[in-house]
Each structure stands twice: as structure tokens, then as C-alpha cells.
């Protein structure tokens, strides 16, 4: 197998696995802070925050472990890329360390171990810093990735991209919309983990009164986040994409021919050569209206772009549309749950509680699908219209070496994931720790 493909497989695997954890850290981080905040007046929230703090500790550890690989992987596997973009791409990674990761790690240590060593106010502040750190971390990583999508603030000189305007590079055309979209996805992921665990405890008849408080909080938090994801965040991201990366937009939306009154597809099966959508059910004009504000507006299709610049069609279409379907599912399930909380019948509805529990992985699946649409949609470029992925790999690293590391990291990740699930299950089965007075 050729080294470029292997390097891509390795990157997809390591980032895909890593990307299970930061969304949970961000989502749990904010929810823990809010619990600590409500916990000033309500002891149940204090207990809930304490419990999920421990859950975060476990999840964060795996996030850190898999994140170390990411920091160095550009150099080990993508050295030509690193040389080409180093003048721009390294700065956000370093800024992430200085402004975000130090904050998150240091204050998580204080939050978990410092309960009896600092005042309640300082302790609460430490949970806020964990959430803020995780979120700033997302910002700088998305700055770096968005620059690959919509590069700005640079000039090509001396065979590399050289910085001309720092702020233009940081706030390139896709940074902010993608940041809000991603962070909101993280909040939804946190909410579903929280709600699922609480639902499980109610089902198992464990500390039901506290679990109800936790579930109510997560459902409302998650519902707000899910609604915001449709409008404005998801919508704005789509509009930005149509403006800045038309071939990626065409691929993920299934626009294989230029058309007016382009539809939003509810269902379709894309095939390659010739590009075509089979069994298509769509709402005519909706996509044109969403993207350009006019139901009859024309949208450019794949047919207008040179063949060598077109991203894979099947994967982008399928992953994007499944993400959207999941997004709709989140709203539906949380709206029903919220309604039943209002009617005070959710606690009896075993079926819905079970659905909430089994929905824990779904927002993470949506994150992965969205990320696949974003990154595969950028192909064949590693930096949009500037550098092709095939020209970016390390020249001094052989296919055998990459294959070896894929197997090694793959085995380690499977091990870590299995252990994490077992330990989380054990922690959840032990239930909430009813804090004695001296630790509050």
C-alpha cells in the first residue's frame, strides 16, 4: 500500500479516536460548572457535579493521552505539510498550549484534588477555568483546521505559505462559524452522556431523586443546545460553506449538476460514475433558499469543477446527511423528554429512559460524521487550493513504518477504549457519592 494512503488512514484513526473525548470534556466541563453554581443553594447539584467531575477525570485522561499524538503527528507523518505551513499552522497549536491546555489541566487538578484545600468560591472558579480552558482549546484547534479549509492572511513565497496578517489568518472566513458549530456539538455530547447516565440510574432504581435532578438539567441543557445547532450555528456554517468552498458544498449536498431551486434531500443513495442520487426524496428549492435566501437561486454543481479537484462524493454526502438526521433526532427525543418532565411522567416512561441511555454515543457519532464531511470534503487538498494531500507526507518515512504504527496505535486505542467503558460502567454502578458535610 502506498505511504500517502497509510498516512491518511493513520491520521483519520488517531484524530477520530481522539475526537471522542474533547467534545465530552467541553460539554461536561460547562455542565459541571453550572452544577457547582446551582450547588451553592441546592445540595443535589453539588453531589451531581462531584460525580460528573470524576467521570470527566477519566474521560479527560484518555483525551490527553490521545491528544499527545496529535501534537507531534504533523511532524512525524506530514513533514512536507509542516514545512509548507509551519509559518502559519504552528502558532495556533502553540497558542492552544499556552492559553488553553495549561489552564484546563492545571485547574482540573485543583478541581479534583483541591476540594478541601481552597474556599468553595475558588473551587467553583476552578471548574469554570476547566470549561473555559477546554473551550479556548477548541478555538485554537479550529483556527488551525479552518485555515486549511479557507486559508487567509498569507502569501506564497520561498516555497511555503508565509504569514502576512495574523488576525486574518486566525479569523479566516470559516473560523467562527465552525467554532460555534463544534462547541455546540460538544455541549450536546455532554448533555446526552449526562442524561443517559441519569436515566440509567433511574432505571436501576439508584438514588432516583438525585438522578431526576440530573436528568432534568441535562434534558433542558441539551434541548437548548440542539435547537441552537439548527439555527443559527448549523445554518450559518452551511451558508459559509456555499460561499467559500463550493465544490465541497456541492459534494456534501449532492449537487452533481448545476441547478436552480436545489432541493434538500431527505433520503438518497449516491453512486459514482456518473455521479447520481438514486431513490431520491427531497424538498425542492429548500437548499437554494437556505444557502442563498431565494428558493429559485442557482447552485453550482460538481460538473462545473475540474475532475482532479473534486472530493469523494459518496462519503461526504452520506456522512453529512446522517449527521443532520441525528441532529433532528436529538431535538425530537429531547423535546419529548422535556414535555414528559413538564407532565411529570418521564420517570415512569421506561422506554424513553432506555432510549436516552442508548443515545449516549449518538452525538459523538454525529461529531465524527460532521468531521468526516468537513475533512473528506476538503480533499484532494490538505490546504484548500494551495497544497494537495498527496504532496504533504513525510518523505523519510516508509510505508512499513506507518503500517506498524497504525497497528500499534490501533491496538492501544482498542485497549484504552475497552478499559474506559468498563471503568465508567463501574463508576456509574457505584452511583452518586452522597457527600458528607465536611467535603461540601
Amino acid at each position: 500500500m502506498d505511504a500517502v494512503l497509510l498516512a491518511r488512514i493513520q491520521f483519520a484513526m488517531t484524530i477520530g479516536f481522539h475526537f471522542l473525548f474533547p467534545p465530552l470534556s467541553i460539554g461536561l466541563g460547562w455542565m459541571i460548572y453550572l452544577s457547582e453554581f446551582f450547588g451553592r443553594k441546592n445540595k443535589d447539584y453539588k453531589i451531581i457535579g462531584y460525580f460528573f467531575g470524576k467521570v470527566l477525570g477519566l474521560i479527560f485522561a484518555v483525551g490527553v493521552a490521545t491528544g499527545i499524538v496529535m501534537e507531534f503527528q504533523f511532524g512525524t507523518n506530514w513533514s512536507e505539510y509542516s514545512k509548507f505551513v509551519g509559518d502559519i499552522f504552528g502558532a495556533p497549536l502553540a497558542a492552544e498550549g499556552v492559553f488553553a491546555f495549561f489552564l484546563e489541566s492545571t485547574f482540573l487538578g485543583l478541581y479534583i484534588f483541591g476540594r478541601n484545600k481552597v474556599s468553595p468560591g475558588v473551587h467553583r472558579f476552578s471548574s469554570l477555568m476547566v470549561a473555559v480552558g477546554a473551550t479556548i482549546s477548541a478555538f485554537w484547534i479550529i483556527v488551525a483546521n479552518s485555515w486549511q479549509q479557507t486559508p487567509a492572511g498569507f502569501i506564497i513565497q520561498n516555497n511555503r505559505a508565509e504569514l502576512t496578517d495574523f488576525w486574518a489568518a486566525v479569523f479566516n472566513p470559516s473560523t467562527l462559524v465552525r467554532f460555534f458549530h463544534t462547541v455546540d456539538a460538544a455541549l450536546i455530547s455532554g448533555a446526552f452522556l449526562w442524561a443517559g447516565i441519569a436515566a440509567y440510574m433511574i432505571l436501576k432504581n439508584k438514588q432516583v431523586e438525585i438522578a431526576k435532578v440530573a436528568l432534568k438539567f441535562a434534558v433542558i441543557f441539551g434541548l437548548i443546545a440542539s435547537l441552537l445547532q439548527v439555527y443559527p450555528f448549523g445554518h450559518e456554517h452551511g451558508r459559509q460553506l456555499a460561499r467559500t468552498q463550493p465544490e465541497k458544498f456541492a459534494a456534501i449536498m449532492g449537487l452533481y449538476y448545476t441547478q436552480t431551486a436545489a432541493p434538500v434531500d431527505i433520503f438518497a443513495f449516491p453512486t459514482d460514475r456518473p455521479p447520481e442520487l438514486k431513490l431520491r426524496i427531497g424538498i425542492p428549492g429548500l437548499l437554494s433558499w437556505l444557502a442563498l435566501g431565494d428558493a429559485n437561486a442557482p447552485l453550482k454543481g460538481i460538473n462545473e469543477f475540474p475532475r482532479e479537484n473534486i472530493p469523494p462524493l459518496f462519503l461526504t454526502f452520506v456522512s453529512y446527511h446522517n449527521m443532520v438526521i441525528l441532529g433532528m433526532y436529538f431535538i425530537l427525543i429531547l423535546a419529548i423528554s422535556a414535555f414528559k418532565i413538564y407532565k411529570k411522567t418521564l420517570w415512569e416512561s421506561k422506554k424513553l429512559l432506555k432510549i436516552l441511555f442508548w443515545s449516549i454515543p449518538l452525538p459523538l457519532a454525529a461529531c465524527q460524521l460532521g468531521w468526516i464531511a468537513a475533512e473528506v470534503g476538503r480533499q484532494p487538498w490538505i490546504v484548500y487550493h494551495l497544497m494537495r494531500t498527496k504532496d504533504a507526507v513525510s518523505v523519510s518515512v516508509g510505508a512499513g513504518e506507518i503500517l506498524f504504527s497504525i497497528f500499534l496505535f490501533g491496538a492501544i486505542y482498542i485497549l484504552l477504549f475497552s478499559v474506559l467503558i468498563v471503568l465508567l460502567k463501574k463508576k456509574v454502578n457505584k452511583g452518586f457519592d452522597l457527600l458528607s458535610e465536611e467535603v461540601i
Binding site: 477525570g57 477519566l58 485522561a61 484518555v62 490527553v64 493521552a65 490521545t66 499527545i68 499524538v69 501534537e71 507531534f72 504533523f74 511532524g75 512525524t76 507523518n77 513533514s79 509542516s82 514545512k83 509551519g86 509559518d87 504552528g90 502558532a91 497549536l93 502553540a94 497558542a95 498550549g97 499556552v98 492559553f99 491546555f101 495549561f102 489552564l103 489541566s105 492545571t106 485547574f107 487538578g109 485543583l110 484534588f113 483541591g114 476540594r115 478541601n116 484545600k117 508565509e162 504569514l163 502576512t164 495574523f166 513525510s394 518523505v395 523519510s396 518515512v397 513504518e401 506498524f404 504504527s405 496505535f409 492501544i412 484504552l416 478499559v419 474506559l420 471503568l423 457519592d433 467535603v439
Partner: protein
């Protein structure tokens, strides 16, 4: 002072910060590998539990800063050391999860995570030195800056000696840190471990210096006329000599400061003798990657400098604050690692 020089120093500061802070974590991990007593194990884990993660961020930030300031070095060295890096990352992954995984594991499974913590600390402590040894003796880099070496080429006697040197240095540093955190019998043991590691460190340091005359003669070319070299050498000498004195007289806090200064002055001496090269070429010194031919543009270096000037003082501020909160002997609570 130009921006390239400033960034040479700043990357040095990050490496020193990492070596001093995560250095004692690595040392504690190596000691943990040979700790039998359960109570002592708990002290090991909780001595670094609240802070090790923040300490490791120095490495990640150092990696990011190297990428941003000297991308050619980041790209050439990291891809050149591919398999060594895979090994290092494997070790760091296991170390990172070992604390939490051990805490929530069944009693009978804890030993596996003890082992992961120990080996996950020992390997990096060794590999950092091996990497530095290879850089000091020069890497096979051709006139176009391409790396032509192999994995087994990295395992040469000189690099292994430097690797053992860094291993004993971190072992000593970690043992001294534990004397601050432990009491009674364990503290006595740690004083002994630190003293033994100190002897091994001296022997290896002399051996490595002697070997450097043969393998990296160019490193001595311009240092003797430089007053900074002599200042650093005196600082190194005084701190090394003070370590056993501090340990014997019970001034372990000062001994820890001395061992931190030892690490700092060693790294600074190395940086001084490399300057202005970052990665010397073993084919021809003229092919070396330097702080000028491997750097980012002045605009990027300047932007990064602003980031560093805003961010680093804040980081140092709250890091000191957190260390003060957790200062003193390890006291177990329900939140501790057990």
C-alpha cells in the same frame, strides 16, 4: 537581539520548564516501578497526582512552539525519528491514563497500571536523552536538509550514554521531589535513592562529556572564550555539589532547587554549545539546520512573541499558585488516588 535568537531562548525555556517539572514526574514513575509497599505507592501517585498533567503541557507547548518558530526542525527531526517517536508516544499514552485507570480498577488489576506508569515514565526519560545525544553528535542531513538516517542508527553508544544520563538525572530529581512529599521510612529510602542516583549521574556525566570530545568535538569550538559558558559551568558545578549536602543536612527543599538548577544549567550549556545550530549535520556542518535557515518569518516570530509575553507569565503565575496550594507532605483524602 533578533527574533530568531529570542525564540531559540524561548524554546529553551519551554524545554527547561518541561525537564524540571515533568522531570520529577518521570523520576517518581521510575521509582514507582520498584516500589512494593502499597502505602508508599499511594504517596508516589498522589505526590504528583494534581500537577503532573499541567507539567506535561510544557512538552505539548514546546512541540507547538518548535513547530511555529522552527518548522523545518519540527518536520525534519520528528519524521526522521519516526519509530523512536512512536515508542515515546506509546509510553506517554500509557502513563497519561495510568493514574485514573489504576484508581478505578479492581485491586487485582492495579499492578498493570503500576507497570504502565513505571515503564511509561522510564522510556521517555531514556528516549529524551537518546534523542539529544543524536542531535549533539549530528544527524545525517544532506545539503537539501533531507534526513537520511535509520532507526537503528539512533541506537549508537554515545546516544545511549546520554540517554542513561538523562534517565539518572530524572531519577535523582524525582527521588529528591519525593523526599519533600513523603515521611519516615519512605523519606529515608528516597534520600538513599537520590544519593545513589547522584553518583551514577556524576559518573555518566563525566563519561558523556569525555565522549563528546570525540563524537561532537565541534561543540567545544567557540565556548571557552564565552563568559556565559563559565558562568553556567560554575552554576552547574555548585548545584551538583550542593545536592548531597542538602540531602544530608535535611535541607531537601534546597536540594530540590539545586537539582532543578542542575537540569537548567545542563540544558543551557548544551544550547550554548549548539548555538546557532539547532540540528547539526553529521555530513557537513554547513548543512546544519540553524535558528536562521530553519525558522519562520519575522512576522510569525513576532506574533508568537506577543502570544508568549501575554500567555506565559499568566501560566507561570497560576502554576506557582497551584503548587503552593498542594505544597507539603502528601495527605490522603477521599479524592486521592488509591
Amino acid at each position: 537581539m533578533d527574533l530568531n535568537l529570542i525564540w531559540f531562548l524561548l524554546v529553551g525555556v519551554l524545554i527547561i520548564g518541561y525537564a524540571i517539572l515533568d522531570g520529577f514526574d518521570l523520576g517518581v514513575g521510575m521509582i514507582h516501578l520498584f516500589t512494593k509497599d502499597e502505602d508508599e505507592k499511594r504517596v508516589n501517585l498522589n505526590a504528583i497526582g494534581p500537577v503532573w498533567d499541567g507539567n506535561e503541557v510544557w512538552l505539548l507547548t514546546g512541540g507547538g512552539a518548535l513547530f511555529a518558530a522552527f518548522p523545518i526542525v519540527y518536520a525534519t527531526v520528528f519524521s526522521g525519528f519516526y519509530l523512536a517517536f512512536v515508542l515515546l508516544l506509546t509510553a506517554l499514552i500509557f502513563r497519561a491514563v495510568s493514574f485514573e485507570f489504576r484508581k478505578y480498577s479492581e485491586e487485582k488489576n492495579k499492578k498493570y497500571w503500576d507497570f504502565a506508569f513505571g515503564v511509561g515514565s522510564l522510556l521517555p526519560a531514556l528516549l529524551y536523552g537518546v534523542a539529544i545525544g543524536n542531535v549533539l553528535k549530528g544527524l545525517p542531513i544532506d545539503s537539501k536538509g533531507a534526513y537520511l538516517g535509520t532507526f537503528f542508527g539512533l541506537l549508537n553508544p554515545y546516544a545511549i550514554i546520554v540517554g542513561l544520563l538523562s534517565l539518572t538525572m530524572f531519577l535523582m530529581h524525582g527521588a529528591i521531589y519525593l523526599t519533600l512529599k513523603s515521611e519516615g521510612k519512605q523519606k529515608e529510602k528516597m534520600i538513599k535513592t537520590a544519593s545513589n542516583a547522584w553518583i551514577a549521574f556524576i559518573v555518566l556525566y563525566l563519561l558523556a562529556t569525555l565522549m563528546t570530545f570525540f563524537f561532537g568535538h565541534y561543540l567545544f569550538a567557540s565556548v571557552f572564550g564565552n563568559p556565559i559558558f563559565w558562568v553556567l559551568l560554575v552554576l552547574l558545578f555548585v548545584s551538583i555539589v550542593y545536592i548531597p549536602i542538602g540531602l544530608k543536612t535535611g535541607k531537601t527543599g534546597y536540594a530540590f532547587t539545586a537539582s532543578s538548577l542542575t537540569i537548567a544549567s545542563m540544558i543551557l550549556l548544551m544550547a550554548l554549545s549548539l548555538f546557532p545550530r539547532l540540528v547539526p549535520s553529521s555530513f557537513d556542518l554547513n548543512y546544519s539546520l540553524t535558528i536562521y535557515n530553519a525558522s519562520s518569518t519575522p512576522r510569525t516570530l513576532f506574533s508568537m512573541l506577543i502570544i508568549a509575553l501575554i500567555g506565559v507569565p499568566i501560566v507561570i503565575g497560576y502554576t506557582i499558585w497551584i503548587y503552593r496550594i498542594f505544597r507539603g507532605k502528601v495527605v490522603m483524602s477521599k479524592d486521592s488516588y488509591d
